[in-house]
């Protein structure tokens, strides 16, 4: 497997466009706000969606449409999430799918929808409809980067990736785009990720591959602990690589999963690096947890704690805050048995300081990327999570 140039349109049979239609307020630097992604034919499609109880209209409609396991197009906008918009919001989401379907001359059920922005504002449908038409006219086999721009909100850079790999001597690709920043957390948040592949794979296996991949990537990043009403990850698999269909968890499935995991993890890490106000990229590794759930819970508690995150920004080796946060996280642990490392420097053994050299610790925590490892000595479960610090600019971005 190798990473290649481009994003979602690096996959054969995928056209995309990203255009400006005035949904976004002048607040946003990036003006493009409507993306269209179209597959040459109806394709097995899998998705994972927010578990937020205040689910946005596009999520509700997409979950309806994806029930048949197929899709052919994704229409997405930034600048308005169509969330907390009631009955009218549902009508507007349906209209977005319908209009896209009419233009493509396909069934509306083959169209999925993604929206992101500030909650509670009615969709400016006149602009949205004009945008969909404009995007349709601009669809091209190299429009992926345009689409990556059009889904950005507070993102500082567009995020896309493509990889190539072989299955039964057939060249296969996975490509994708994502938007993140801000409210990124477990179970995903204000996060739209659209993926495509030309791999020939049965839908149930595509769904299980995606679910597992999201659990290890997008669900293991954290900016500020909030989760949005609109999170959506979709993958369409058009089968144009003409590999022998993957219909069991065989070697080809594993190779596909590896490539998919590479793609989702890279995209997830891009989101963290672009976190609102982030100046540090921190990997949190938990080992020795009693259960996988505890390992994940501990990692998320650390990544969510403003006291821990401000200590990263302050470049302070304040491991007492880590211990306090772990102890309060609700996991099973012996408060007197924890070991902690900053990169390879052991700073805590059995919950007390190792008497480490403070200058060495400072050198590590001054870097823009470092790892903190915890051994809870309560079992064999592990988790790895990626997060960022909380800086003055985080506050500035959010007021």
């Amino acid at each position: 497997m190798k990473q290649t140039d481009g994003g979602i349109t690096a996959v054969p049979g995928i056209r995309a466009a990203g255009v400006e239609c005035g949904i976004k307020t002048p607040y946003y630097k990036e003006k493009r706000d409507l993306a269209l992604i179209v597959c040459d034919k109806p394709s097995p499609t899998a998705g994972t969606f927010t578990t937020n109880k205040a689910k946005a209209a596009p999520v509700i409609i997409s979950q309806e449409h994806i029930k048949n396991g197929k899709a052919q197009a994704i229409v997405a906008n930034s600048g308005n999430p169509n969330a907390c918009t009631g009955e009218q919001g549902l009508k507007d989401a349906i209209r977005m799918a319908q209009l896209t379907a009419e233009l493509l001359n396909i069934s509306p059920e083959l169209v999925l929808i993604g929206s992101t922005g500030r909650i509670g504002v009615p969709m400016p449908m006149e602009k949205v409809e004009a945008g969909i038409k404009k995007a349709f006219n601009k669809l091209s086999y190299d429009g992926g980067n345009q689409a990556a721009h059009a889904i950005m909100t507070t993102d500082k850079f567009p995020k896309e990736i493509a990889v190539e790999f072989q299955l039964n001597e057939k060249k296969c690709r996975i490509g994708g785009i994502v938007k993140g920043a801000g409210m990124i957390e477990p179970n995903m948040a204000t996060m739209l990720c659209f993926l495509a592949t030309d791999v020939n794979i049965d839908q149930p296996l595509l769904q299980s591959a995606l679910k597992a991949s999201v659990d290890k990537s997008f669900n293991m990043i954290s900016i500020d602990g909030d989760m949005s009403t609109n999170d959506t990850v979709i993958i369409m698999a058009n089968g144009m690589a003409e590999n022998e269909v993957i219909n069991s968890k065989d070697k080809s499935y594993k190779k596909f999963c590896e490539a998919l995991d590479f793609v989702t993890l890279k995209l997830a890490k891009m989101i963290v690096k672009d976190g609102e106000g982030a100046t540090k990229f921190v990997e949190i590794r938990i080992k020795g947890a009693k259960t996988n759930q505890d390992a994940s819970k501990a990692a998320h508690a650390l990544a969510r704690s403003p006291l821990v995150k401000t200590s990263f920004f302050g470049e302070d080796d304040n491991w007492g805050r880590y211990m306090s946060t772990l102890g309060a996280s609700g996991i099973e642990m012996d408060g007197t048995a924890t070991n902690i490392w900053l990169d390879d420097l052991k700073i805590v053994e059995n919950s007390i300081t190792t008497g480490y050299d403070k200058a060495n610790a400072k050198d590590i925590i001054k870097k823009s990327e470092f790892t903190i490892t915890f051994d809870l000595k309560a079992g064999n479960a592990k988790a790895t999570l990626w997060t960022c610090d909380m800086s003055y600019d985080y506050i500035k971005c959010n007021i």
Copy 2:
């Protein structure tokens, strides 16, 4: 019942002192760092303590000592929490109790300990011992305010209160001091609260009154969602009011509870108003929750969300963030049924905007104190919580 001047030494039979002994680093503005509170006689005593798994040594020892339901003295220091200090930490906490007991000529089991500061640093016992002796020599029946100063860490002002009320025609008092700021959250956090009363009450009833009172006050405030290794609330009841002993949940018990609730809630609100970098005091009311647990969970989720808290600081009526946070909080709710008020202005009905006047909303959210009320329409349970905003100064305090 009426509020009176003074704090813990407004209660007859209580002496206190607060002295400087050099435990605190020069970082702290307030230099006093050792407090001693002594009751004229062994007294029924109740306590509630942190549920953090990385419990500090003074908490472990105090929980041991309070098992017999009696205490006569509290020794507390700021500048070092004696947390994550291993075996030596336990020895040091025991030594603090022993030395205090020797000076007072009482049993060490009658001495409880409280400590607060930066985790993981060994206790400077020479200074601590000198401090205990110094405080012992300064004990006085009007030393409560000195003690209130000596437990401060990043607190900007000392916090104390006293009330008077009648039980069977006997004048009774409750007085107390607290330190907070920073890591205040459910189940308490870097929070030391020492209370005394001259009410004559059986220990089990004192414990149940305290537990219920803490649940409605200290456990319903939130600064940044973190919980510490050292949280402690203690009340000693010396019986010197000579009221007929309270030994059942009768009228006198209820009157005592009312006074105690008044005291704990006032102290809890003082902590929020002194939250690190806080510029706003926000009351969050949840009604219509399915269960009490859901009501509390929803309130805490809102108070913990950096996105919600920065929107307070930014004076932005961003109710979409409230909805998103509620939806992600894990409570039972219908995402399309929520009503929200800013003070008395209804801004959301059935999860969509009421089309309220933005200028009116702005006027409310610009105030230094306001209330946000949520009706979840899922049941009859309620909760009220007090929190603050998250400002640039929060980051500054914590780096």
